[in-house]
Symmetry: C2
Subunit: 310 residues, 2 copies
């Protein structure tokens, strides 16, 4: 959206995250313009790594860079304990957005595996070679790293809830890179510890991409809502997860570049697979891509409202 790009260009991406009035404003504007039934606070999953000691930079076009990656047990030991007040600007943004929103507000955090990949690789990675090698070669250091992240994340997420977040989404964006056996051994216990630490009074969404082989693992990790990307059939995925969890998803974000007729077809298919059962939150299977036509997003929202009301 043009409104968002104008504010981001003025403040910079990190500056926007750290200016509560601006972060609340883009959150509220997006929700109002798109007509969605819930908003998610404007923030970034990597913010928590700064007060833990990482030097974070958003290089233009290249994605985030961490200049002092964590690659050994000694590096893990140098991480700082997280003090929740260091991210006070996030809670302030949540409070301000709540004041102006007429729909519920979702808070969020990165899941520990995904945050660990950024810390270890020093940025995004296509193979996660250093992350997996630390995991396999030094499981003690790996567990210490994941433990530190889980402690920080529990505190951070609970502070978001205290500030007014009415649901929490954990973004495990890179978890789909893992073999299920590696997830069970090196990630699952940490996810279970994090879920146990989070205030159970709000819904918790456990979201990953590329999780077609990991659904049972995500279910075991916990959270009352499992986020599905678009690479699975919603009905088959929900059958594997079982009826006692809700699901969120699963439209391919690229579909929004197609003609509106094709967008309507895809939305109808997903709603058909959900079959009107309670516990399906319609959403994209991942984030909105740059240059997505805003009127196509709006048409999708209208379509979902129209088809769900039948």
């Amino acid at each position: 959206m043009a409104e968002y790009r104008a504010v981001r260009d003025r403040l910079g991406f990190l500056g926007l995250c750290k200016t509560p009035e601006a972060a609340a404003e883009v959150t509220v504007t997006a929700a109002e313009r798109l007509g969605v039934d819930a908003a998610i606070i404007f923030a970034d999953i990597l913010l928590i790594l700064e007060p833990m000691g990482a030097t974070l930079e958003y290089a233009t076009g290249d994605g985030p860079v961490i200049h002092d990656p964590v690659r050994t047990g000694a590096d893990v030991d140098r991480l700082r304990e997280f003090h929740p007040e260091t991210l006070g600007y996030v809670y302030d943004a949540i409070r301000l957005a709540r004041r102006d929103l007429s729909v519920p507000l979702i808070g969020f955090a990165g899941a520990p595996f995904t945050l660990a990949t950024y810390l270890v690789e020093g940025g995004a990675s296509s193979t996660h070679q250093r992350t997996k090698t630390l995991m396999h070669a030094d499981p003690g250091a790996w567990d210490a790293l994941m433990g530190a992240l889980v402690r920080a994340l529990g505190t951070y997420v609970n502070a978001q809830i205290a500030a007014g977040a009415q649901a929490i989404q954990l973004f495990d964006s890179w978890v789909g890179a893992l073999a299920p056996a590696d997830y069970r051994r090196h990630v699952l216990p940490h996810m279970q510890a994090l879920v146990a630490a989070i205030d159970p009074s709000v819904p918790l969404i456990n979201f990953g991409t590329g999780t077609g082989g990991l659904l049972e693992c995500l279910r075991a990790a916990g959270g009352g809502v499992i986020g599905l990307d678009w690479r699975v059939d919603l009905d088959a995925a929900w059958a594997r997860l079982g009826p006692d969890v809700a699901v969120q998803g699963n439209l391919d974000p690229v579909t929004l570049f197609a003609p509106i007729e094709a967008i309507r077809d895809a939305a109808a298919r997903i709603l058909g697979q959900a079959g009107g059962r309670p516990g399906h939150v319609f959403n994209l299977g991942h984030g909105v891509l740059p240059d997505t036509p805003v009127d196509h997003v709006r048409a999708l929202v209208d379509t979902v409202h129209e088809l769900s009301a039948r």
Copy 2:
């Protein structure tokens, strides 16, 4: 391997593909040094696009570039009919490799969806936005493109078999980007046509990555062997595919950077999940990554031989 890098640096990547003596030599040397039970011919999935009219370049470090991408129905109409003799260097390499190999030789080709993504995007892509948008916005042009690729691939693969390839692997490297519904509507009929066109006298391996939500679709496409990446449990994936197909995979290639002890554990887990049933071909879940220690690959091969002999 150093032997491979020396030849590639001398001839260039495309030059190596187009020099049958050199392509056969790196094929045979790798199989002998690693002690594997089958070899795969050195070639590239994109070679077939040149005689179809695409201008192909392997820019250093950036992956392949196609300078005249196919983005409209008119672009599709301009594609040239494939004449199999234009890839005679591949069949020559197969004949030469067969002469020197003591293990079976696998030929291969890209699957039509994956080749279409390169043609439409002009190279690799993280979102496949142009490909999917062509598929959704102009299904007629999409079907014409896929049909042209299927005709070419059937001819090409059969010429490899005639030259001596003893099995064929179709690489659908990017198929995991698709929603299952898009696969069923826009890819499955074309894959079925390709499988029907391929000489049934040799085993056919249908390989993709990120296919945890697509296994039933791959099964429907055909091929007696389904390639599994590492993102699924082999036993659960095989149960979904059914007992009447063989499976190939599924070790995470990154595991080869771990200590040999961890490599042995991972191989033992996969063999345990296969449970000694006939029809499991041990393999990596994707290609060997650059800088993989050759002695670790060799240790893996030895481990699999040792554990399989029990």
